[in-house]
C-alpha cells in the first residue's frame, strides 16, 4: 500500500443512480422503492423526518446493508467495489471508530487501510477541527466525535462524499468552519455530495437541490433556490370550523382557531379568490424561513401518505 503525501485530485467526479431501492428490517420498511440520480459534481440534500430511511440509504450505498431489491449504479460502472470505496468518503451520523482506540490510532488505522489517504490533507482537517489525538474515542464528546468522523471519512479527498447528519453536536464556530471547508472542497475538488441533514440552512448553502424522503420513498426534488421562495403561508381568521380548501398544492391545518395555509407554487391568487367569498375572513401573509417551509412540506407529505 502507498500513501499519497501530497494532495491528489481525481480525474472525474463520481455520479450515482439509485433505482427502486428496497430494504426492510423486520416489519419496518426502511427503503421502499427509493430513486435518486446524482450526477457527477452535483450536491444533493436529503431531507426527511426521523426514520424516513436516510441513514439506511447511506449504508446501502457503501454496501453495509444488503438490498432486497433495486440497484445502485455509479457513473463509472467498470469500477469494482474496492476502488469505488477508495473514492468514496462517508461521514455517518454516529462515529464509525473503535471506541477503545485513541483518536490518533483511529486515524492511523484508517490511513493503513485507505490507499488514497492524503496525510497532508488529513493534517489540515485535524488542525481545522482541533482534534486531540491522544484522547480515547470513547471519551470524546458528541461534537468531538463528529469532528473525528469528518477526518476519518474525508482524509482521502473522496470523489463521492456521503454525509449523514454530519454536524450534529458541533459548536457554531466549528460548524461554520466545516461548512466552509466542504464548500471549498467541492469548489476545488469538484466532488459529488449527498448530504442528509435536518439543518436546511446548511443544505441551502451546500447543495444544488433537495430531495424529500418519506418512509423510504423519494417524494419530491426541489432546487435549493426554490426551497423557501416557492412557499407562502397565509394565516386566515374568521372562517367557520367546516371550512377546508380543496387544492392539491395547499397544506391546511388549524392552529389557535385560525386556519394556516401553506401554499406551494403559484396558487395564492386562486386561494385569495376563494377567500374573497368569505366575508368574515381576514388573512395575513407570512414570509417563511427555509426551515419552516421544509417543515410544512414534510407535514404535507405525511398528511398525503
Amino acid at each position: 500500500m502507498t500513501t499519497n503525501d501530497t494532495t491528489t485530485s481525481s480525474v472525474s467526479a463520481l455520479g450515482l443512480e439509485c433505482r427502486g431501492l428496497a430494504l426492510s428490517f423486520g416489519r419496518v420498511r426502511a427503503l421502499d422503492g427509493f430513486n435518486l440520480t446524482l450526477t457527477a459534481g452535483e450536491a444533493v440534500g436529503i431531507v426527511g423526518r426521523n426514520g424516513a430511511g436516510k441513514s439506511t440509504l447511506f449504508r446501502a450505498i457503501i454496501g453495509a446493508e444488503s438490498l432486497e431489491r433495486g440497484t445502485i449504479l455509479s457513473t463509472t460502472p467498470t469500477l469494482t467495489r474496492l476502488p469505488l470505496l477508495a473514492r468514496t468518503g462517508f461521514v455517518p451520523d454516529t462515529l464509525s471508530a473503535y471506541d477503545w482506540m485513541r483518536v490518533g490510532e483511529s486515524i492511523a488505522y484508517v490511513a493503513a487501510l485507505q490507499p488514497n489517504f492524503d496525510a497532508a490533507w488529513s493534517r489540515e482537517l485535524q488542525a481545522l477541527l482541533e482534534l486531540d489525538l491522544d484522547v480515547r474515542v470513547r471519551d470524546l464528546s458528541r461534537g468531538m466525535q463528529a469532528r473525528l468522523a469528518f477526518v476519518l471519512g474525508l482524509s482521502h479527498k473522496p470523489d463521492l462524499v456521503l454525509l449523514d447528519e454530519p454536524l450534529l453536536g458541533v459548536d457554531a464556530v466549528t460548524h461554520d468552519a466545516v461548512l466552509e471547508m466542504l464548500a471549498r472542497m467541492r469548489a476545488t475538488h469538484q466532488c459529488t455530495m449527498l448530504i442528509a441533514s435536518h439543518q436546511l440552512g446548511d443544505l441551502a448553502r451546500l447543495t444544488d437541490r433537495v430531495v424529500f424522503m418519506d418512509r423510504g420513498r423519494d417524494v419530491i426534488s426541489i432546487n435549493t433556490d426554490e426551497l423557501a421562495s416557492g412557499s407562502t403561508r397565509l394565516i386566515v381568521r374568521g372562517l367557520s370550523l367546516e371550512w377546508k380548501p380543496n387544492f392539491d398544492r395547499v397544506h391546511f391545518r388549524r392552529q389557535d382557531g385560525a386556519c394556516v395555509l401553506t401554499l406551494q407554487g403559484h396558487v395564492e391568487p386562486a386561494i385569495k379568490a376563494i377567500l374573497a367569498n368569505e366575508p368574515s375572513a381576514r388573512f395575513e401573509r407570512v414570509a417563511l424561513s427555509i426551515n419552516e417551509a421544509c417543515a410544512d412540506r414534510l407535514r404535507a407529505m405525511e398528511d398525503r401518505s
Binding site: 500500500m1 428496497a22 438490498l67 432486497e68 431489491r69 467495489r81 471506541d99 493503513a112 487501510l113 489525538l133
Partner: protein
C-alpha cells in the same frame, strides 16, 4: 500527544487489521483468562479451607496438579463458549454498529478481513484447547499419558472449539443484532447438526429404504399379511417421510434465504457477495432438483419392480386367502410337498462339500422369496404356513395335525417332520431327530438329524455358546458330567454338531436311567412318545460314533471339478468326519460317560 507523523501508514493493511483484531480479542480474552486464573487460585488454596470444603467440591487429590483436574468441565465449557464469543465480537468489529460501519466503508478485501479474524480466533482457540487438555491430563493417574491420548485430546479439543468459532462467525453474519448473534452462535451448531442428519436421511437411507420395503409396501396395499411387525414397518415409513420433508424444507429455506440475501445490487459490489449468495442459492436449488429427479427415476424403477411383484404377490395373496378357507385336514394333505432345504441329492452333496454352516447360510429360510408359479413346492409351503398360522386360533386341532406329520416317517419328508415338531416343542424335535438318526435312509437325513440334535442342547453352563444364531428352544440338563471338545474339530460346524449331539445323547441316556443329569418331564414324555428307550439311545450313540460317510469317493470326484480350494476343504472335513465320535473330546478333561469304551 501523538504526533501527526504517527498517522502516516507504516504498516500494511493486513498488519493493521491483525493488530486491531488482536487488541479486540485480547479485551474479551482478559475476562476469560481472569476467570481461569481465579479458578486456579481457588483450587490452589482449597486445602486451606479444610477437608469439608474439599469434600464438598469432590476433591480428593492432594497435589495442586491433581486438584486442577476438577477444572476440566469448566474449561471445556469455556473452550466452546469463548471462541464463539470472540468470533461474534470480531465479526461485529467491536460488538457495536459503529465498528462494522467503519469496516464497510474502508476499501479492504473481505478475504483480508476474514483471514485476520480467523488467525486471531484460531490463536484463542488453541490457547483454550491447551488449558482444557492440561486440566484433563494434569492428574498422572494409572492411565499412561501416551501419544495417542494427546492426539485424541488435541483433535477433539480443536474440533469442539472450531465448532464454537465457526458458529460465532456464522451467527454474526446472519443478524444485525449482537444479542441475536450470540444466541445464534449456540443455536447454529444444533441447526447444522440437524441439517446434516436430514441430508443423510435424504440422500442415503431413503433410497435404500424404498427398495428394501417395496415388497412389504405392495403386500400392505394388496391387503396381504406381512411376516414383519406392521407396527415397526409403519413407524419406519412414517419417520422416513418426516425426515425427507424436514430435509427438503431445510434445503428450500436455505435456498430462499440465499436468494433473498442476493437480490439487490450495490454499485461496485458487482458483485462478489451478491454473486456468491446467488450461486449458493442456485447450488442448493440444483441439489434439490437433482434429488427430485433421482427420486423420480427411482420411483419409476420401483414402479416397474412393483408391477412385476404385484402379479406374483397377488397370486400369493389369493392362495393364502384360499388356504385360510381350507380345513386343517386339507391343509395337512396339501402341504405334503413343501420342503425347506433338502430338496435333492445334489444339494445334500453341496452340504458336504462346503460344510454345513456355509451352505445353510445361503439356502435356509427361503420363505422371503416371492411366490413363483413355476415352483410347485411353494404352493405347498404356503399351505403349510397357513397351517402354522391356524395354530394361533385353533391350537388343539393343529397340534393333532402336527403330531401326525412328525410321526409320519413314510408320507412326509424329514424336513416337514422337523418343521411340525418345531411348532410343538424342542423335546418333540429331539424325538424326531433321534428316530431319524436310527431310521435314516441316506447320509443327508442322518446329517440333518445330527444338526438338529447338536443345536438343541444348551451347553451354556459348560462355557459353550449356542452353535447357531437362530432363535430355537434348547433343552437344559442339570449337572452335566464334565467334558472338553478338541478345538481343532470345532472349526467345522458339522463336527461341532456331531460332538454336541453325542453330549445330548449321553445326557439323555443318563436322564432315562434317572441318574443325573436330568431334563424335564416333557423330555421323558417325548422319548416315550417316539418309542425311544435305552437301546435306541445306545444305537444313536453308536451311529454318532461311526464315521458319517461310508465312502467319500463320489464327493471327492465332484470336488476335483470344483478347484483346489474345494479339495482342500473336503480333505479337512474328511479328517474331521472320517473318524470316531469320541475323538472330538479331550480324554483327560472328559467324563468317560461320553466316550465309547473300546475307542
Amino acid at each position: 500527544m501523538m504526533q501527526f507523523q504517527s498517522q502516516t501508514p507504516t504498516q500494511s493493511p493486513f498488519t493493521a487489521l491483525l493488530r486491531k483484531d488482536i487488541r479486540l480479542a485480547s479485551q474479551l480474552m482478559l475476562p476469560a483468562l481472569g476467570i481461569v486464573a481465579a479458578l486456579a487460585v481457588f483450587v490452589a488454596v482449597l486445602p486451606l479451607l479444610g477437608l469439608d470444603a474439599m469434600r464438598s467440591f469432590n476433591v480428593k487429590h492432594t497435589t495442586l496438579l491433581q486438584r486442577l483436574e476438577i477444572l476440566f468441565p469448566i474449561l471445556l465449557g469455556m473452550a466452546i463458549v469463548v471462541p464463539g464469543w470472540i468470533a461474534v465480537a470480531l465479526t461485529f468489529g467491536d460488538a457495536q454498529r459503529r465498528g462494522s460501519t467503519l469496516v464497510s466503508m474502508l476499501p479492504v478485501a473481505s478475504r483480508t478481513k476474514w483471514i485476520s479474524k480467523l488467525i486471531v480466533a484460531i490463536a484463542c482457540t488453541m490457547l483454550f484447547t491447551a488449558f482444557t487438555i492440561s486440566a484433563a491430563y494434569a492428574n498422572p493417574g494409572p492411565e499412561a499419558f501416551i501419544f495417542n491420548n494427546i492426539a485424541w485430546a488435541l483433535g477433539i479439543g480443536v474440533a469442539v472449539q472450531l465448532l464454537g468459532m465457526c458458529s460465532g462467525f456464522a451467527a454474526a453474519a446472519f443478524t444485525r443484532s449482537t444479542v441475536a448473534a450470540y444466541v445464534l452462535a449456540i443455536g447454529l451448531p444444533i441447526a447444522a447438526l440437524l441439517t446434516i442428519v436430514a441430508l443423510d436421511w435424504l440422500v442415503g437411507r431413503s433410497a435404500l429404504f424404498l427398495f428394501t420395503t417395496s415388497t412389504a409396501a405392495i403386500r400392505v396395499e394388496l391387503g396381504i399379511d406381512f411376516d414383519e411387525s406392521p407396527t415397526f414397518r409403519n413407524w419406519v415409513r412414517a419417520h422416513e417421510d418426516l425426515r425427507q420433508i424436514v430435509c427438503l424444507v431445510t434445503l428450500l429455506l436455505c435456498a430462499l434465504f440465499c436468494a433473498w440475501r442476493g437480490r439487490g445490487r450495490v454499485a461496485g459490489h458487482g458483485d462478489s457477495t451478491r454473486g456468491s449468495r446467488r450461486t449458493l442459492a442456485w447450488c442448493i436449488a440444483t441439489i434439490l432438483f437433482a434429488v427430485l429427479i433421482v427420486n423420480s427415476i427411482m420411483t419409476v424403477q420401483i414402479s416397474s419392480y412393483y408391477s412385476k411383484l404385484t402379479t406374483e404377490l397377488r397370486k400369493q395373496g389369493e392362495h393364502e386367502a384360499q388356504a385360510q378357507l381350507k380345513s386343517t385336514a386339507e391343509l395337512v394333505d396339501e402341504s405334503r410337498d413343501f420342503t425347506r432345504q433338502f430338496r435333492n441329492t445334489q444339494q445334500c452333496e453341496q452340504i458336504f462339500l462346503y460344510d454345513y454352516m456355509a451352505f445353510r447360510s445361503t439356502t435356509s429360510d427361503t420363505s422371503f422369496h416371492p411366490y413363483r408359479p413355476d415352483e410347485p413346492a411353494r404352493g405347498s409351503l404356503l399351505d403349510y404356513y397357513a397351517l402354522a398360522r391356524r395354530y394361533e386360533t385353533r391350537p388343539e386341532e393343529v397340534v393333532v395335525a402336527f403330531r401326525a406329520i412328525m410321526h409320519d416317517s413314510v408320507g412326509r419328508e424329514l424336513d416337514q417332520r422337523f418343521f411340525a415338531a418345531d411348532n410343538i416343542g424342542p423335546e418333540a424335535v429331539i424325538g424326531v431327530a433321534l428316530r431319524a438318526l436310527v431310521d435314516a435312509a441316506t447320509p443327508c437325513e442322518r446329517l440333518f438329524a445330527i444338526e438338529e440334535l447338536g443345536a438343541r442342547i444348551d451347553l451354556e453352563q459348560m462355557g459353550l455358546e449356542m452353535v447357531r444364531q437362530m432363535a430355537v428352544m434348547l433343552i437344559s440338563f442339570s449337572d452335566l458330567p464334565p467334558f472338553a471338545f478338541r478345538e481343532t474339530d470345532m472349526q467345522f460346524p458339522t463336527c461341532g454338531y456331531r460332538a454336541r449331539a453325542i453330549v445330548l445323547v449321553t445326557a439323555l441316556r443318563r436322564h432315562c436311567a434317572s441318574a443325573p443329569p436330568r431334563a424335564s418331564e416333557a423330555m421323558t414324555e417325548a422319548l416315550a412318545e417316539f418309542g425311544i428307550d435305552d437301546a435306541t439311545l445306545d444305537k444313536c450313540r453308536a451311529i454318532l460314533e461311526a464315521p458319517l460317510l461310508e465312502s467319500w469317493e463320489p464327493l471327492e470326484g465332484k470336488a476335483a471339478g470344483g478347484g483346489e480350494h474345494l479339495l482342500k476343504r473336503l480333505s479337512q472335513l474328511k479328517d474331521c468326519l472320517d473318524c470316531n465320535g469320541s475323538v472330538f473330546f479331550k480324554p483327560a478333561e472328559t467324563d468317560p460317560a461320553y466316550l465309547i469304551a473300546d475307542r
